[in-house]
Symmetry: C2
């Protein structure tokens, strides 16, 4: 590969750059900065990027791979901007946490070039964000979900899979809708629940005392509430239907639990907690 | 001190024993085992306890300090059992996560000896349980809340405070009701929310696939769902009112969040997440 072009050099985009540099995966890695976004010059100095550019127009044509690593809401805008400049030699992927909406946007904005886009979702990241948090081994043994569509070519799917495998990931192919349903439940929902608990505390009049006595259970539970607000706003709107369904299910779940407590259902309450703790313990000892 | 008697040698009771032994805080540390409970003989062999006994009757009179470290629901029964044997030289404390109900039980069951009971809550522990998880440094720099009542004597409060300080804790005195309100929100609620999320996944028909793709965010969030079911059943029933109030508030919180998402309120949604992430980041970088 000659050139990888990264739109949105944050935790994920930056980690791709670091690892691709380590592996000498291409001759040049270029980061595109938003006009009011992070100043990328320190990351050129540090060697993470070969160049940073705010003139994306001149970069598109010579890119072998474009990685869209901006917050989800920016991806649509970016697809629209790069369409007219895109030649047949360039593949595009993204790293967004939602896949149906991005796939749909690619179909709309890339038109006859839609087959050049294949979505990805690296299941890697943390509550930390920004290129200063990037790590070359972020994708090591992490699941990377690739969501091809009806127009995707076998050889392009292979190229995208190989790209992620080289970065250390374990790839799997999945339908975009199924992806969004699964991640609504195992990722988006817990994030929203953590944000909501912190805001419930924010609204208590003895908030400061409460936070003073919050301990390790709260620490782990609420860690993801320190995540990027912009990213989670975008995810909520991008995966709206699945998330609203899960929030509704969750409300029913805590209503059922409230009833067990209200009515002193000792045995059902014990079984409720046993069922959850067994599942959690079987899932991981950690 | 001559003798510390521990009812319920689990994570907390065991850690008290280990540290008291290290410090030579008393001549003898005796663990009381329930008839169908954990076999304590390995922990006598390991040196954590000097003796284990299932004959609590013969142990009460010579104890300087009795620590009630059983699940919350067992504490009432234990108070009732020890009352007739209790002499004026013995202080009693507990380590329960709820304080109003235990204080009330002490008043009812210890009658004219009620002043000998002063409740404690060490804010230390983990999703691990049982004496095999005990650690001598469990209380090091941890908050220990002590909840004296109207009949408590100043010198007894001092004794209980000193006991915990020696074990490494940072003590503070608090009203039992305020304690229960605070811990409903910062501890009990997040535990229940984590159990509920895992049970929501338990009820999905593609549960196995979901758990396969759950990642580090889910790992941290749900860690406390691996906690002891019996302990959390007891806490729910012991701190019922505060917990039901918080579950109701939480339901309103996620209804409000659902509405922001449903109505595409970009800016309010961003502010909602910003407010939570700022609070969480200010609380701890970890």
């Amino acid at each position: 590969m000659n050139k990888i072009l990264i739109f949105g050099v944050g935790l994920i985009g930056g980690s791709i750059a670091l690892k691709a540099k380590d592996l000498r995966l291409c001759k040049e890695i270029v980061g595109i900065s938003r006009s009011n976004g992070t100043d990328l010059s320190p990351f050129v100095k540090s060697g993470m990027l070969d160049r940073a550019s705010s003139n994306y127009q001149s970069e598109i044509q010579s890119a072998d791979l474009i990685v869209l690593a901006t917050p989800v809401a920016q991806i649509e805008i970016t697809l629209e901007k790069i369409y007219p400049l895109l030649t047949a030699n360039t593949l595009i992927t993204d790293v967004g946490s939602t896949k149906t909406n991005i796939n749909q946007a690619a179909k709309v904005f890339l038109k006859e070039k839609y087959s050049q886009f294949i979505g990805s979702h690296p299941i890697a990241g943390s509550e930390k964000h920004g290129p200063q948090s990037a790590m070359a081994d972020l994708f090591e043994n992490k699941n990377i979900i690739i969501t091809p569509h009806t127009q995707s070519k076998k050889e392009d799917i292979n190229k995208i899979e190989n790209f992620w495998k080289k970065l250390g990931g374990i790839t799997s192919i999945m339908d975009a809708n199924l992806h969004d349903e699964i991640f609504s439940t195992v990722s988006h929902l817990p994030h929203l629940l953590a944000f909501s608990l912190v805001n419930l505390i924010n609204d208590k009049n003895n908030k400061e005392t409460m936070l003073e006595y919050a301990a390790s259970g709260f620490r782990d539970f609420s860690r993801i509430a320190g995540s990027s607000a912009e990213m989670w706003r975008d995810i909520c709107l991008a995966n709206k239907d699945a998330i609203l369904t899960d929030l509704e299910l969750y409300k029913k779940e805590i209503e059922a639990l409230s009833n067990l407590i209200k009515n002193n259902h000792h045995e059902d309450l014990l079984n409720y907690f046993l069922k959850a703790s067994k599942t959690r313990q079987n899932w991981s000892k950690d």
